[in-house]
Symmetry: C3
Subunit: 195 residues, 3 copies
């Protein structure tokens, strides 16, 4: 059990969270592209690995903003989270991201129940507080709305068997719910380690 407490400054905390979200987003999105769940439609856009260059930056910026807003809101966490917990939480969200890449051809009922139940496992383990729940619900609404906009613009598309929610996948709100839940206490977990 770490007994020393190492603390990062605000800028360093933001940079670490940005880097984590950047990497996690690339890993998850590559799973979606490899499985054919999503396609990037604009030819001229440069790519990083399998993602359009804008994707990891938008995701990374959103996660940093969400984590910072949650920290500033002062809503009390139900559990104090360490850097090791943050590794578990982020890896769990990446794993859930990859699970959604297995959902092609599955009935929406199955995929939504599975991804939704796993998202509740992640939230209620990570931080079963009203503040984390609010951020998770906000992400579950705003994330898919943003992606519906991206699909409308023609920049990307979901596969025919995975576009039942206004052009995006029906399980997408559940995946954003889990990501929002973990983002909710990521700032303090990254900033201050220790028991």
């Amino acid at each position: 059990m770490g007994t020393d407490v190492r603390t990062l400054g605000q800028g360093a905390t933001a940079l670490v969270i940005a880097a984590i979200a950047f990497g996690a987003g690339l890993l998850g999105d590559a799973s979606h592209v490899a499985a054919g769940t999503t396609n990037y439609e604009w030819d001229g856009v440069p790519t990083i690995w399998r993602s359009g260059i804008w994707f990891p930056f938008v995701l990374s910026g959103s996660v940093v903003l969400a984590a910072w807003l949650s920290e500033r809101s002062g809503s009390p966490p139900a559990r104090r989270r360490s850097r090791a917990d943050a590794a578990t939480g982020v890896a769990a969200v990446v794993a859930l991201y990859a699970v959604t890449a297995l959902m092609r051809g599955e009935p929406a009922t199955v995929s939504v129940v599975l991804v939704g139940a796993l998202a509740v496992v992640i939230w209620s383990w990570w931080d079963p507080s009203p503040g984390a729940l609010a951020l998770a619900c906000g992400a579950a609404v705003l994330g898919p709305l943003f992606e519906i906009g991206v699909v409308e613009l023609g920049a990307s598309s979901y596969a025919d068997d995975s576009d039942g929610l206004g052009g995006v996948a029906p399980w997408l709100p559940c995946l954003y719910f889990a990501a929002g839940a973990v983002a909710s206490r990521l700032w303090s977990a990254v900033q201050r380690d220790g028991a």
Copy 2:
């Protein structure tokens, strides 16, 4: 960390557990029906969502009874469980339920090892006590026996690729094991919240 302890009466506790089990059963069973894992065979029976009307009531009553018997037995828990833990535990069982809906066409060896190992993860995390193990094993025997009876009566059936255990799925005891394990301390977790 909740410091106040809110306590429910016996009737309210039973009602909350009944409602949770009712909802969880509907979600899981809908996954099975959507995947074609199970079929309801009697035409005249009213349905709730995708389940025969009797299913969620039988399940709900059984879970309340199991939770109450476990509470009354006085067998000591290995871990004290909060309402947040209960959310994690119930969501984990629903997720496992949905995982079984993905097992069509998989060899029985794969599905039984996967669902069985995940059931042990759930039990040993939730409450690795002899009392919880006994209830989990009881559920693993009685649940599939009841379903074998239902299939014999012709009220429902499992898909041809998922009926290797006397007409029901070979992984079914593992799913009941996990549900029984979580039922074992659900009463006290729901009744008394707090640290």
Copy 3:
């Protein structure tokens, strides 16, 4: 919460760990053989269940050696693990083993991200210490190298859709990483129970 501390001798600890690894290896390997992920190629070799007779002995001996070396190294654990935790950890590795048996036909990107993220979840939950990380990384290198040798010898083979890493599966290092992580504190968890 167990308050008594029951302690095993060194020999008994080694035997218990050997038995656990033997059983876990048979369960996981049977999943691979049943799914067609791996095949045993030499006809004359006796089998235990679905494994060539040498497999569970090599695995079991390696796990005992790894657990003992980790215990002897004196590297401090980040978390104290009980026997109940060991049940969770071993079951999680067996579940991950069975998950890899579902990966036939999946793109390597999806399977590696999924199995890798779950392996990080297991390591960072079980013991997020540098010592456990070192053993996990060692296992992730040595395990697949050994299996590549076995494939080269012609004793076994991976399916055509699962042999992209020098003849073995691309997710194999991730599975060994998880197994090595849990092996790292298995000795003390098995030897001394209690709070």
